[in-house]
């Protein structure tokens, strides 16, 4: 007997997402992903000063503002003919890198882990760690009190299969708490050169406004070193532990199997070399990326604008009562194909390209340790593993970049804003490929279009009826209890959705 279940709201992601699944014989047969919040950034940006864009677009998302700021200043660099000096390029990477680390740690421990870890195990804690003893006391006190929701926000939750091993649960709880400090530390590192986070102040076309000093180099280096230790000792290990406890999630949530990466973290002045390269994987084969092949369909989206447009011609005309529409997300496609973006896409592209030796070594090492093959990465656990590996690659490189800064050398190159111009900013947010398309006329923004990672991943069906990446990944997911569809939420969360980004 088939039944339809709507999971609304999907929590522990960014923003407002609802997932509707049709379940038949205890498996998902169809899924619909609905983004439920719209603000109209592309409409608001029209007619404004082009430099407003880097500040305004950062406010699309409080989890990955630096990525939007980066996309915007790259688009403006291109439109103004500005090239940041070496210090400026390195500082941009250091701020973006710090926010990657913050975002990845937040995602694994605070957003995703509560689907696997049994928080109630803390009541069985018998050790002497004062922090854990206090937490145990709090949970016990809450449970025996008359408050309506004891131990909120950690309870209530879906019933389902959580980790059984008490010691492992308690270690994970300890790391949940450590990770709170670690993501805060990553934001502090970003603020050393970004002024503040979230919503960095210093990103401008031509470089950054902040300067290099020996004190700042030392502060950033010290913080990144602590983060590297946490990533090596806790994050990578904990992903392995979750994988060992839930091996079936190497087979669940496979998805479309196509991947897209624009590449991120420029290693040269002209952006030709990047730490994580660009590329497209379709049918297991790596191809080069061509930005001209991007289009956005809107047949099932709440927009009355034309469908199938390239972002250079993109339009955003809201139509909240549109017949047949079920999401505020558009449906981006690459060469007409559904693709997945994010850490798994970046790691797949880098792995297949083979130029980044650290990626190759880490992926092979982890697969060997878990007794898995590269194809197993196309899964819920593959996404978590790729994110953790990427976190290490980025942190290790940040530790090297900061040592290349030179105090007293410029961080900014001046520019003039032309009367008319165009620019494209292609980068990667922690959640995947991010592009901003800018057109200037009479010194003002004439058109601004953003195609955002979660727009790719959580898109509704396209004009041809092809489901989006998350919709496809949900298909065939086993659901033990349709009143507690925890398996479906594990699949959705493995993509780290951000709906404020996706709709904007």
């Amino acid at each position: 007997m088939s039944r339809t279940v709507t999971i609304d709201p999907i929590t522990r992601i960014e923003g407002h997402l609802a997932i509707r699944i049709k379940i038949d014989s205890s498996r998902v047969v169809k899924a619909f992903s609905s983004g439920e919040m719209f603000r109209g950034f592309e409409v608001i940006l029209k007619g404004r000063d082009p430099m407003d864009a880097q500040q305004i677009t950062q406010r699309i998302c409080g989890v990955c503002p630096v990525s939007h700021g980066t996309a915007s200043i790259l688009a403006q660099d291109a439109a103004y003919g500005a090239t940041p000096p070496k210090n400026g390029r390195l500082i941009r990477n250091l701020i973006l890198g710090a926010n990657y680390i913050q975002s990845h740690i937040l995602h694994f421990y605070h957003l995703a882990a509560l689907d696997f870890v049994d928080i109630t195990a803390i009541t069985k804690y018998k050790g002497r760690d004062p922090v854990l003893r206090d937490l145990k006391k709090w949970v016990k006190g809450q449970i025996s009190s008359n408050v309506i929701y004891p131990a909120a926000p950690f309870l209530p939750r879906y019933s389902g299969k959580y980790i059984q091993n008490t010691g492992l649960n308690i270690l994970a709880i300890k790391h949940y708490l450590d990770a709170l400090d670690m993501r805060t530390l990553a934001h502090k590192a970003g603020a050393v050169f970004g002024g503040k986070l979230p919503h960095a102040a210093t990103l401008v076309p031509g470089g950054v406004t902040e300067k290099v000093t020996a004190v700042k180099i030392a502060a950033y280096a010290s913080m990144i070193s602590k983060l590297q230790t946490f990533i090596d000792k806790s994050y990578l290990t904990d992903v392995g532990e979750v994988a060992a406890a839930f091996p079936e999630y190497f087979r669940i949530g496979k998805g479309c199997g196509n991947f897209l990466a624009y590449g991120v973290f420029p290693e040269s002045a002209n952006n030709s070399e990047k730490l994580l390269p660009s590329g497209v994987v379709v049918g297991g084969r790596l191809r080069s990326f061509d930005a001209a092949r991007i289009t956005e369909d809107v047949r099932y989206s709440f927009y009355s604008s034309s469908s199938g447009l390239h972002p250079v011609q993109g339009q955003t005309v809201p139509a909240p009562h549109k017949n047949g529409a079920y999401s505020w997300l558009k449906a981006p496609r690459y060469n007409g194909t559904v693709v997945e973006v994010g850490p798994l896409a970046r790691i797949m592209v880098a792995y297949l390209k083979g130029e980044n030796r650290a990626v190759k070594k880490l992926v092979n090492g982890l697969l060997a340790k878990l007794g898995r093959k590269p194809k197993d990465l196309l899964s819920v656990l593959g996404r978590h593993a790729a994110r953790a590996i990427e976190c290490k690659v980025v942190a290790d490189r940040c530790a090297e970049w900061v040592e290349q800064l030179v105090p007293g050398e410029p961080t900014f190159q001046d520019f003039t804003i032309p009367k008319t111009g165009r620019g494209v900013g292609l980068t990667e947010a922690p959640r995947g490929a991010l592009g901003h398309w800018l057109e200037i006329d009479d010194h003002k923004i004439k058109r601004y279009q953003c195609v955002v990672p979660t727009t790719w991943n959580c898109s509704p069906r396209d004009d041809n009826g092809n489901p989006g990446a998350v919709e496809q990944a949900l298909a065939r997911t086993p659901i033990a209890n349709s009143k507690n569809p925890i398996e479906a939420t594990r699949v959705v969360r493995s993509f780290d959705p951000c709906i404020a980004c996706a709709v904007h």
Partner: protein, 307 residues
């Protein structure tokens, strides 16, 4: 309460007293407030409207107290979309029962799409309706961030959703629950933690005519600016990364009320003006409001000089 916890509370109280500008005489009272909070006396319901979650992320950046201490020792966070273990129907049960029971502090993040209710939906319900239900039964409402306080970027000129800040929305719907506004894009974690403690121990703090706690928002950024001496000497930066007062680059410190330049961000790490970035007035009621009023004067300077 264990000795360790009590000692920690006193240490934190000293820091809180410092951040609230209360002086040391208030420390025992604040410690008592924290003790009462830990008894579960302060249920908090957190709803997100047209938000970017930046204020939530900013709150996680609080170090003294840290987020775990806030959740276990300060407030009882009934629901928060980014942190709650619950999801789907379980979340909606928590939200609905919490509203029915009442007596909580409501925190709202993000603007309200008053002109297009379909632009924000939580659990199949328009946020416009949900936030009215939740506000009516709240002891007090805290509008966190510029979007919830004044509308912010979603309410900027030409916006398609008719977005407004929470105080305006509640007023036009006849809801009289007291509202405290904590603007800033994002809001500083100290502003929320300090306000929560004040509400619980001393009641609603002294507010200005826009609902902002005077303890954080009574003075202009400009009056507390590290580059004030440059301004006095008319030593102005000509372009980004120059030394000097940032006024000619568009700095809005002279019209923006907040204490960023004294408090600094990310636990004292830095702040916009110290990092060479002009204040863009993100805590102002006029933040991003008009399309013709740019954040930077760079474009203005360059006009006629372009290639």
């Amino acid at each position: 309460m264990s000795d360790i916890t009590r000692r920690k509370f006193l240490e934190l109280s000293v820091k809180l007293a410092a951040l609230m500008g209360l002086g040391t005489s208030a420390i025992p009272q604040i410690a008592e407030a924290l003790g009462r909070l830990s008894a579960g006396a302060a249920p908090v319901l957190w709803l997100q409207g047209q938000s970017c979650s930046g204020c939530s992320v900013s709150l996680l950046n609080s170090e003294e107290p840290g987020p775990a201490q806030i959740l276990t020792g300060y407030i009882s966070l009934l629901f928060h979309s980014t942190l709650s273990a619950s999801t789907g129907d379980v979340s909606m049960k928590v939200i609905n029962r919490s509203i029915d029971e009442g007596g909580y502090l409501l925190v709202v993040e993000g603007s309200i799409p008053a002109g297009m209710p379909e632009a924000c939906i939580v659990g199949k319900e328009h946020l416009t309706k949900q936030v009215l239900r939740a506000s009516r039964n709240a002891k007090a409402v805290i509008a966190i961030g510029t979007c919830a306080s004044f509308g912010g970027i979603p309410a900027a000129e030409n916006n398609p959703t008719g977005a407004v800040g929470l105080p305006d929305f509640l007023k036009s719907n006849g809801v009289s629950t007291p509202v405290i506004t904590l603007p800033g894009c994002p809001a500083h974690p100290d502003w929320l933690v300090g306000t929560l403690v004040h509400v619980l121990k001393f009641g609603i703090p002294s507010l200005d005519d826009k609902g902002r706690p005077k303890m954080f928002f009574s003075r202009l950024i400009h009056d507390q600016c590290p580059r004030f001496a440059d301004y006095e000497r008319e030593n102005f930066a000509g372009t980004f990364s120059d030394e000097g007062c940032l006024f000619n680059l568009g700095c809005l410190g002279p019209v923006t009320h907040a204490d960023c330049t004294l408090r600094h961000w990310n636990s004292g790490t830095n702040c916009c003006i110290n990092a060479g970035a002009p204040c863009i007035g993100c805590a102002s009621e006029n933040f991003a409001a008009r399309a013709s009023f740019p954040f930077y004067r760079k474009g203005e300077q360059n006009k006629g000089k372009e290639r």
